[in-house]
């Protein structure tokens, strides 16, 4: 994958080596804990087990149970206590084991995490990162493949970001931990194990900016997390058919990078957004609405949404029919009159 914005290799760069998203996240946590004594990590099974996806592997052993520990099994409890810790100057990083299991914490996240800074007129800051493995594609049974981003992005006070590759996974998580705003950090679980050569530590584009991954002139594909690969595949196939596809990795869902996306759409005059979540009221609706508001007179066709269906995420043997594919993207582009 070619990054148009090459990551700036820092002075201390180690020789680049193949690393997975899970590995990069693990390294980011390790380096952040090492760098700042106020950083703590807790949640369900994040201690000795290292998390069900091994993202916290080895951290408890390395830093001890006062920096990385297993909490009781209660998501509201995890987020609620993290809020109290942050009020006392800590920087907690907590994990929701799977996205559907963040729902018990919904009140703590929407009514407190998102609002405490505003409520206290800026007196209280909550530098908390909530890590959520999200979306499907791993053959998980019910409740293990939800895409919950639309719930968070609609909630003022939250910042919502999602990496699609190991370099961003490291850089964006470090930036999220350093941020004084609460961050919902969505990790595309189907991509956890995809490897790339990266020299750590790495600093990529700012967490809140979108990145053009592939330049093109005919159409702009807007993707994030697990669907970035889908968009790139579609771009490859499209190229064979003589279609010049620009691919943008949104990276930040809230805030939305209107500038980068706007510039691209004004160039291509056509855009489509791709996500796994159900379409109705999904994040793609906001993308389509705001791109249309801002670029209406540049658009040659309506912004397309290539998404999951408006149904609960299906069982493992049927999920392939639910997930957006490169073929579906290209089929959708064909519905436009060119």
């Amino acid at each position: 994958m070619t990054l148009v914005h090459e990551p700036a290799a820092p002075a201390t760069a180690k020789p680049s080596a193949p690393i997975s998203i899970a590995g990069a996240l693990n390294a980011a946590l390790r380096d952040a804990i090492e760098a700042d004594p106020s950083v703590v990590v807790f949640g369900e099974d994040v201690g000795p087990l290292g998390g069900v996806f091994r993202v916290t592997d080895g951290l408890a052993a390395r830093f001890g149970e006062n920096r990385v520990w297993d909490s009781p099994l209660a998501e509201a409890g995890i987020v609620g206590t993290a809020i109290g810790m942050a009020m006392y100057g800590m920087r907690p990083i907590v994990e929701m084991q799977f996205d559907a299991f963040s729902y018990p914490a919904f009140e703590q996240i929407t009514s407190h995490l998102a609002k405490m800074h505003n409520r206290t007129r800026g007196a209280v800051r909550l530098p908390i990162v909530i890590r959520i493995p999200y979306a499907g594609g791993i053959g998980g049974v019910e409740h293990h493949s939800d895409s919950s981003e639309a719930y968070w992005t609609h909630t003022p006070g939250l910042t919502v970001v999602t990496p699609s590759n190991p370099a961003d996974a490291y850089s964006m998580l470090r930036e999220a931990i350093a941020s004084d705003d609460p961050i919902i950090f969505l990790e595309p679980k189907s991509r956890y194990w995809s490897r790339e050569d990266v020299a750590l530590p790495v600093t990529t584009a700012p967490m809140t900016s979108a990145v053009v991954l592939r330049e093109g002139t005919d159409v702009t594909l807007l993707a994030y997390g697990p669907t970035v690969r889908t968009a790139l595949e579609a771009a490859d196939q499209g190229a064979l058919e003589g279609l010049s596809v620009e691919v943008i990795d949104l990276r930040s869902l809230s805030p939305f990078d209107d500038e980068t996306v706007g510039a691209s759409v004004r160039k291509t005059s056509r855009a489509a957004v791709i996500h796994e979540a159900a379409q109705f009221g999904g994040y793609g609706a906001e993308v389509a609405a705001r791109v249309t508001e801002r670029q209406f007179f540049y658009l040659a066709a309506p912004v397309l949404r290539i998404t999951g269906f408006d149904i609960p995420y299906p069982s493992p043997k049927l999920e392939e029919h639910f997930l957006p594919t490169a073929d579906r993207v290209l089929a959708a582009l064909d519905t436009w009159e060119w």
């Binding site: 369900e44 099974d45 069900v52 099994l73 409890g77 049974v141 049927l318």
Partner: protein, 373 residues
Amino acid sequence: MSDSVVGSQLPVRPTEKPICLIAADGKRTSPDLAAGFELPASDILLSLYRRMVLGRRFDVQVTAVTRQGRLATYPSAVGQEACEIGAVAALGDDDWLFPTYRDTMAVMTRGVAPADALRQFRGDWHMGFDPYEHRISVQATPLATQALHAVGLATAAKLKGDNVVALTFLGDGSTSEGDAHEAFNFAAVWQAPVVFVIQNNQYAISVPITKQSHARTLADKAIGYGMPGYYVDGNDVAAMYTVISAAVVNAREGRGPALIEGLTYRVEAHTNSDDPTRYRDRDEEDAWAALDPIARLERHLRGTGDLTEQLSAEIANEAETLAANVREAVNAETELDPLEIFDHVYVIPRETLAEQRDYLARELASAEQESDR
């Protein structure tokens, strides 16, 4: 809904030591450990024994085929047979069971065919059977949420004047969730005919009970709700069956809910994708192996002479038939219609779903044509 609160007697407090009727050596325990509960008759013990053997054989076989990749995942209940079978045996036909992902053994024991019981974990559909056919709800994944469904169903039955009891399983870790608390409280306030069976198998995936609760026992939680609480040896099926049966009768006769903690052990990994060596050691596993619920009852029944060579041979045969049954079930190809994913989202049909269904239908049709070429 509130009058029921009035005139209820003070709850039974959990005992100091776990209630136990048959010790690990197969011998009967002293009266203090029996806490006033009677040992069931030998025919009952024999049928509990038989169902535990079948239950374990079932789970061992399913775990094996899961390793062969036939199932998406499988959480085994091996080692917890006394809880799984003791609970199911205590329920009447009209009663309801609210199991978790851990309790497929109980689901199968209550009469669901292996093929149906395993459909969820095969990845065919979220639930593999009709809840109303067996009075068994979905094997809940969101922890502790099903306990509230049990309380609601039991309350509805009570309001309708039906003598129905709802039994829900909970794991030790699940007791930390807010929903567990709300279920205990609603059940007590509404005096709902519910029995909460907590299988304390010492772990929530990798997290030991010491990181989950600071209480003396999980059964002690009952006190805070004004419910009877029972602290039981969860590897003694005689005790589990007897205590749960008493709680079921109490509930049925309008004396409200009860909370029962069975001390047991999750012998297998959390699921096939888990690695217990990361968080527990061999010695601990061996210590619990010595308390095995099946071996214990077998010793007892051999001692009393109720379990003859012939009988155990029969049971062993039955177990092998069941195992073959399981292999057959998981090897059989299931016909799945992808379009069904749109059919049960709403009772009242939706245009947008019809459109999306047509879209997928067209996609599948053209894929057909492709492959025909």
